[in-house]
Amino acid sequence: MMATLEVTELRKQFAIGRPAIDGVSFSVPAGEIVVLLGPSGCGKTTTLRCVAGLEHPTGGEISISGKVVSSPERGVLVPPRSRDLGMVFQSYAVWPHMTVRQNVVYPLKHRNISRADAGRKVEEALALVGLSEYGDRPVVALSGGQMQRVALARSMVYRPQLLLLDEPLSNLDAKLRLRLRDDLRVILKQTGMTALYVTHDQAEAVVLGDRIGVMRDGKLLQMDSPDAIYNRPADLFVANFTGATNELAGTLVACNGRYGVVDFGDGRRGEVALFHALAPDEKVRVALRPENIAIGRPDGANTFSAKVLDRRYQGTQTAYGIELFGKRLEAIELGTAARHQVGVEAPVSLPRECLWAYRDRGPVSHE
């Protein structure tokens, strides 16, 4: 029953402006949860809505379990109701004029399912999302988190081939968001759903996704396992978006396979990791996570002297601003003790596998 989603060279051009989706290709194998991650306006929601059939792509092909549902070139466009999908919306979209049960049974009414069967399926779905006792309540009497559970039950009650989730947690308050996020993964995995999930929250993406696709300006930059996205980002944007917010500029002077040596100016050199083939003498930008900067621990070859500019105690961690190579970097040190004083010179070590060098393509904006 479970099916794969295949998206090939998808394009969507609105009446004005640059394309909202600019040649996106990816696939979601049966039973997998794929998360599309990116800042607002990157085209992730439009991609999802194209898969749903709520938005009409201007190019490319979408097929669900081998059946082409959208292909403007061939004039194919299957309406949403015939795609056998489930969808959870950001605004819940539960119908306020119905009870919980009426909401959940609605999709079954548009399918040939006997009343008894439908009743059983509704109970199952409500049990799955933990709302068994709420069936007869009007949905307006529920909290935001419960409404989203109703929406989830409604989208899964007919076991669609593919479940689409459009920022389902972003309207919830922080605490509820964390709980529902973990529950959601359990529910999806328990039912073996194939799912495409859209979010701008990296933490959500990492917890939920079997694979994450990072999007920007209508393009899919990288699609990989969460681990690869975090440890081997494909470019500077992905690195920055997933938290490697420090950046150093330099020139590659030597390379040796997976590692190279970068001159950060004034003869200060350090070893860096290379994910792409780069030639010596190329200008590079090096991305670095704040939590990978170890202050006060001379360790390995990449040890430099830096000055502590400021200190912000945050309870379980402390954030420092340090000056390295004439540039201000952010550093985070875990633990409840703030160990370094403002104004001191301290050695910092930067492990070479945490310094990722990318070709310098000029100034890039990350917002």
Partner: protein, 591 residues
């Protein structure tokens, strides 16, 4: 020692200041309540008393009339089969009209908000035009078009060789004209509800497997049901109070509704003022019940479906069908705006209304300015325009100032008694214009040397009638001024009145001006309440038009209708320009 004495005198002064302020606020609230009682409560009480006696206040004097109070009089009226028939006709006409209005209004709001019909902005703007046509003018236009013998439509059918004939001098005609003219009330409510609806609610239904059609009926319409019901009730309420349309279309076949029946009663000789009062009370009770129902619907089950983020309204791609919806839009426009306007123009410029065939319709020798010359030869015409403008100015200035005082007192102060002010000033919502007229008639006709027969009785009746709408329009204009702007002026040492003069009024002036212009427009087109209050000296435009119509000269009637329509068009355009669109909804509210 000295300082202590100073402080003590300051304390006593503070106390006397407080007492003086309490005295002033007491006087202020008392004055407002007295004015409102004079404008609203006294006439309504007189109406009630009138319904309960069986004497004529003019012939027998007020004192004698009041000594004959008995519920029996009212019950006699209720038992009168003519009253029952008028009530039944009213309910059928308004019910049928409302059904058509809902169908048209809902369809148009769906076209405009939810589809890609071409030029839908134009359709949207045009479909609320009927709101601006005075009902009497609309009635006259449709009489010219749809009269069974001489109507233009039937002339056309004859020319085309069809045996089909329409007869708008009937219940069907009344229902039809009511329906097409009051559809915009439903449209205004439902279109804004549709626009504010989260589109993902409909998308969720489509994803769930529902077709576009079944989504419409299982999700969209149920969700905007409160808006549909309140638009429906409002159009019903407005139809209940309309005099012009049933007066024109019902008269030839003696088809009475409550409004026309009330007027007939006062035109009998001798006039049956007490029966009229009793029937007016029936009309008021029905209206009051519906207004109450509408308020309940509006305040009760409202589904807030706004998701907190701005959404693009969904636009359904109709494909080639969008030309069909476009054609329907144009057809509506043709029926509601173009045809009646053409009918009026033809009738106004044609020497004789008898049209033998279509060729004669386009024969230019049949057209002239005769009717315009003859209406302006009549000294009453200019006088009625002058009177209407005078009444309009008094109503706008006095009514505007009073509404500002009331609105400010209700919304921006915490004085005791403002609840009562609020209640009494909104009471006229439930009183149709015609009933206001009868009530004022009862209130003043028996008092010799009083208001009756002056311009002021008309103006006061209009002020009372349009009070709720004016207070509402004005209140929105100064509720937008943040309280802190006033508080800042107080802190700077300005007093309450000084703050109103230097801060509130200048900032609210566009809104105040717009509300006053609106009041002016409403006053000069009002017919229902004028009917009972004019005398030959205080004849106003809308009444003179009715006079021309009842005089039987359709050419003069049409010519004067055009004069009025153009005048109103200019005024409404001006009001709209002043308020940048805000006034539109309010012309609508009062019919």
């Amino acid at each position: 020692m000295h300082g202590q004495a100073d402080r003590r005198s300051e304390v006593t002064r503070g106390a006397s200041d407080g007492a003086r302020r309490r005295l002033y606020t007491g006087l202020w609230v008392g004055a407002l309540l007295a004015i409102l009682a004079f404008l609203v409560i006294y006439p309504v009480i007189m109406l009630l008393l009138g319904a309960l006696t069986d004497t004529n206040p003019v012939v027998d004097g007020l004192a004698r009339s009041l000594s004959h109070l008995s519920v029996a009089n009212f019950l006699t009226v209720l038992a009168n089969p003519n009253v029952g028939e008028a009530l039944l006709n009213t309910l059928i006409a308004c019910g049928g009209g409302t059904a058509i209005a809902v169908a048209i209004g809902l369809f148009f709001s769906w076209i405009v908000v939810r589809t890609n019909t071409p030029f839908k902005g134009f359709i949207a703007a045009a479909s609320i035009l009927p709101l601006f046509a005075p009902p009497l003018v609309a009635g006259v236009a449709w009489a010219i078009l749809g009269s069974p013998k001489t109507g233009l439509i039937n002339t056309m059918f004859k020319w085309m060789g069809s045996d089909f004939r329409v007869d708008l001098y009937s219940m069907w005609g009344l229902v039809f004209v009511f329906g097409i003219y009051y559809a915009p009330y439903v449209y205004m409510f439902t279109s804004s509800a549709l626009r504010n609806m989260d589109p993902s609610l409909e998308e969720a239904a489509e994803i769930s497997g529902a077709s576009a059609f079944s989504t419409l009926f299982t999700v969209t319409f149920p969700l905007i049901m409160p808006a549909i019901v309140s638009g429906m009730l409002l159009s019903f309420i407005v139809m209940l109070g309309i005099y012009g349309i049933p007066a024109v279309l019902g008269a030839p076949t003696n088809l009475n509704v409550l409004t026309t029946y009330i007027f007939k009663l006062t035109n009998w000789s001798p006039p049956l003022y007490n029966t009229a009062a009793a029937v007016a009370i029936i009309l008021m009770v029905v209206t009051g019940l519906l207004v109450y129902l509408q308020q309940r619907v509006l305040s009760g089950r409202s589904y807030t479906t706004v998701a907190g983020k701005a959404f693009r309204p969904r636009s359904l791609d109709l494909g080639p069908w969008r030309w069909l919806t476009f054609a329907i839009g144009i057809l509506y426009l043709l029926v509601v705006v173009v045809l009646p306007s053409l009918a009026l123009i033809v009738a106004a410029f044609r020497k004789f209304m008898f049209i033998r065939d279509v060729a004669s319709l386009f024969d230019m020798r049949q057209y002239s300015l005769t009717h315009f010359e003859s209406i302006f030869d009549n000294p009453l015409t200019m006088r009625s325009i002058y009177n209407a403008v005078e009444v309009g100015v008094i109503t706008a200035v006095v009514g505007g100032a009073l509404a500002f005082a009331i609105g400010y007192t209700i919304h921006r102060t915490r004085v005791a008694g403002r609840g009562a002010i609020d209640l009494i000033s909104t009471l006229p919502v439930a009183i149709p214009g015609l009933v206001v007229g009868v009530a004022y008639l009862w209130a003043w006709i028996g008092i010799p040397g009083g208001l009756y027969g002056t311009i002021w009785i008309l103006a006061l009746a209009f002020i009372a009638r349009f009070m709720p709408d004016t207070v509402k329009a004005l209140s929105t204009s100064f509720l937008q001024i943040h309280r802190e702007l006033e508080e800042a002026a107080w802190v700077c040492g300005k007093g309450m009145l000084g703050t109103i003069r230097t801060i509130v009024l200048p900032l609210a002036s566009p809104g105040v001006l717009a509300a006053m212009t609106l009041l002016f427009v409403l006053a000069i087109r009002e017919l229902g309440s004028s009917l009972f209050l004019y005398t030959s000296n205080t004849m106003v435009m809308s009444v003179l038009l009715l006079d021309y119509y009842e005089g039987g000269n359709i050419g003069k009637t049409a010519a004067f209708s055009l004069v009025q329509t153009v005048l109103l068009g200019v005024l409404i355009g001006g009001a709209n320009w002043l308020s940048r669109g805000a006034a539109q909804g309010n012309v609508a509210r009062t019919g």
